[in-house]
């Protein structure tokens, strides 16, 4: 089995690996990463947990799927190695779903989405305004905290969906910058 795996670390850098899992002659397993041999032993103590021994080095690995947001899209899959988390995207050449998954990557005008449920308490820019990257556009309040949603890029505030007092769900689009 061969998988294309895109690994994104917390600093946003994404690296892609081609991982081929093959049975070794012995009880162990041989894996090729980007064509280079990679030998290890793996066991699964519990669901979503792997214990990997790579040449003696012990790695505890956990998988998690982030809670699905308001839009019913299921959240991203991430892998924690020891204390470090990576967002991963696995595509199996033979599967369609994974290719579909890739599609969602953001193109065209950038949306400002509500990252969680809450209430809009202030609007900081008007439709048509020019906005800087990182400039505050909408303030929502949730769990007694006010949070300013910033423009992802410099441009024009093309659409403003949010209005003060409006209740929003995670994932709702509040404004569009172009």
């Amino acid at each position: 089995m061969t998988y294309d795996v895109a690994v994104t670390s917390r600093d946003g850098k994404t690296t892609s690996y081609k991982v081929e899992l093959k049975r070794s002659d012995a009880a162990g397993w041989i894996c090729q990463v980007d064509g280079q041999p990679f030998t290890f032993d793996s066991a699964q103590p519990a669901a979503d947990v792997l214990s990997l021994l790579v040449g003696g080095e012990s790695y505890e690995v956990r998988r998690e799927t982030a809670a699905s947001n308001g839009n019913g899209q299921t959240g991203e899959q991430s892998i924690a190695v020891g204390g470090r988390r990576y967002v991963v995207e696995v595509s199996d050449p033979r599967s369609l779903r994974s290719r579909k998954a890739k599609a969602g990557s953001s193109e065209g005008p950038k949306k400002i989405k509500a990252p969680m449920p809450g209430k809009v308490v202030r609007i900081l820019a008007a439709e048509g305004d020019a906005v800087e990257a990182g400039q505050g556009v909408v303030v929502i309040e949730a769990m007694k905290m006010q949070n300013e949603l910033k423009s992802p890029k410099a441009g024009t505030l093309k659409r403003l969906i949010a209005n003060v007092g409006m209740a929003v769900n995670a994932g709702d689009t509040l404004a569009i910058v172009e």
Partner: protein, 510 residues
């Protein structure tokens, strides 16, 4: 001693108090809102009663409903925890009226301390050192005058406030008006009072607080200090005891000042006197919190005392079982507040279902938690999940121990700030004890080094592939019956867990 105590709170502090009740053979009564029916505090209490919908003001802030449960259940005391009604004098009065003991200070003492301006008047009379500024709520015009007098930068604060809500730092006169508006509107929402006042802003101050405890026979002691300078938006993130910069002489001075504060207010039970400390180690009275603090465990670990047991005994009229001279600090304790929030996304709260939960344990580790695996964190309340506390003989060991515990801690399904703590505890300035309330913001401004984050990406990639293979396996397994040869041959039940192997094998045989 009390027969039955109602806990007017939720989350970890409700569980904390329920545990103390059990340890003292006192029946505990929980109250819960609709979204908390299966919450830990409901399940651990001896009794539990619904008090309304999710919105706090309809449930955990609803005095009448809580008093009604207290009467129905026959509770003879109420513990308010922290937050919610804990510093609400009207609630304390309602308890007095119902002849139910409020476990905390008197309503009178609360009223003095409840408004920062009245607190300031009382404390100035007692000769407690203050940061220059106004001692009462101000109009915008007045605010502008006072700001000019004490000089910029100045801090706007909600008179009825606490926990950083309704606070604004102003560097330039031109920003004062908008900041004033923001502070007072936020104050109005948070405390239903838009009164704000002004103080001179102390650059890079430390936040150090002193735990005090008074019984109802006039005895007041201090139980050492807590360093709470690691803050974000004026919210404490890490607390420790003792403070790395407080020596015995300074501890004595701060402690005695704190006791003077408490006595000036006729204070009883557990309270905390917060000080700002400048670079020259001058300390200024900030406010008094008339409740048990979130961070009380670090004081418990270094003093060997149990502050909740003590609260109950003192509230029941007992004398403090020790004198000031008996209070000895030993070792070092650090607390991390584990929040359901996303440090990579502007610290937005991240409510939702906890799909996986692995909590640390072992030597020197204490966890006060309000959640469990499978629990869905409601978005209606403060997103704190639990408090992780590490104790060790020295500060250096306590930091190393906390880092070990954080490596063991895993919360799946929602975002938490666990990784943030790793970063803070690895920070050079923190390790050296060079802290002020701006430390965290400066740290967050720095970019993380990639090397630090990427060297196990390859492992993650391989693991992801293995998981993919094993889930592919499950679907196929479900179709064929009977165990695979490996399952039967596995040495014990644990061997059989390695499901992906046999699938990969199957793959290879194709």
């Amino acid at each position: 001693m009390f027969k039955k105590i109602l806990i007017a709170n939720r989350g970890e502090i409700a569980v904390r108090v329920i545990r103390a009740c059990r340890e003292m053979s006192i029946a505990s009564v929980a109250v819960y809102s609709d979204v908390d029916r299966t919450a830990l505090h409901v399940r651990k209490a001896d009794e539990a009663y619904a008090i309304g919908p999710a919105a706090a003001r309809e449930s955990y802030l609803h005095i009448e409903r809580i008093m009604d449960v207290a009467r129905r259940s026959g509770a003879d005391a109420i513990h308010p925890g922290y937050g919610f009604l804990s510093e609400n004098a009207a609630f304390a009065q309602a308890c007095e009226a119902a002849r139910i003991k409020f476990i905390g200070p008197t309503a009178a003492a609360m009223n003095i301390m409840g408004s920062k301006t009245s607190a300031r008047r009382a404390m100035e009379a007692a000769g407690v050192p203050f940061v220059p500024g106004s001692s009462r709520g101000l109009t915008l015009d007045e605010a502008q005058k006072v700001a000019d007098e004490v000089g910029y930068p100045v801090m706007l604060k909600a008179a009825a406030g606490g926990g950083g809500k309704g606070m604004r730092l102003v560097h330039h006169p031109r920003d004062l008006a908008s900041a004033y508006e923001g502070a007072s509107s936020e104050a109005a929402r948070a405390f239903s009072s838009d009164e704000v006042y002004i103080e001179k802003y102390i650059a890079q101050p430390r936040h150090i607080e002193v735990q005090v405890f008074g019984d109802e026979h006039g005895n007041v002691v201090y139980l050492g200090e807590r360093e709470c300078s690691v803050q974000r938006r004026h919210q404490k993130v890490i607390e420790e005891a003792p403070s790395p910069i407080v020596d015995p002489a300074m501890r004595l001075r701060m402690g005695e000042t704190a006791v003077r504060v408490a006595k000036a207010a006729g204070y009883t039970n557990a309270g905390t006197v917060e000080f700002l400390v400048d670079a020259q180690k001058n300390f200024y009275f900030l406010e008094m919190n008339t409740r048990l603090q979130v961070e009380h465990p670090v004081t418990e670990l270094v003093t060997g005392l149990d502050l909740v047991h003590l609260q109950l005994r003192v509230a029941a009229g007992e004398k403090l079982p020790f004198a000031q001279a008996d209070v000895q600090l030993r070792g070092h304790a650090i607390e991390c507040r584990i929040y359901a929030e996303d440090p990579d996304n502007n610290f937005f709260p991240s409510p939702g279902k906890i799909a996986q939960l692995v909590t640390p344990s072992g030597p020197g580790i204490r966890e006060d938690s309000g959640v469990f695996e499978g629990w869905t964190v409601p978005l209606d309340y403060d997103p704190m999940l639990s408090k992780l506390i590490a104790y060790a003989p020295t500060r250096e060991q306590a930091i190393a121990r906390m880092l070990r515990a954080l490596d063991e801690y895993f919360v799946g399904g929602i975002k938490t700030n666990v990784e943030l703590f790793r970063r803070i505890l690895h920070d050079e300035d923190f390790a050296a004890g060079r802290m002020d309330t701006g430390l965290l913001d400066r740290m967050l401004a720095k970019k993380m080094s990639n090397s630090d984050l990427r060297d196990s990406a390859k492992i993650a990639a391989v693991a992801a592939a293995i998981f993919a293979l094993s889930s592919a396996a499950k679907s196929s397994d479900s179709m064929c019956d009977g165990p695979s040869p490996d399952e039967t041959k596995s040495a014990n039940g644990n061997g059989a867990a390695s499901g992906w192997k046999r699938t990969a094998r199957r793959e290879a045989l194709r």
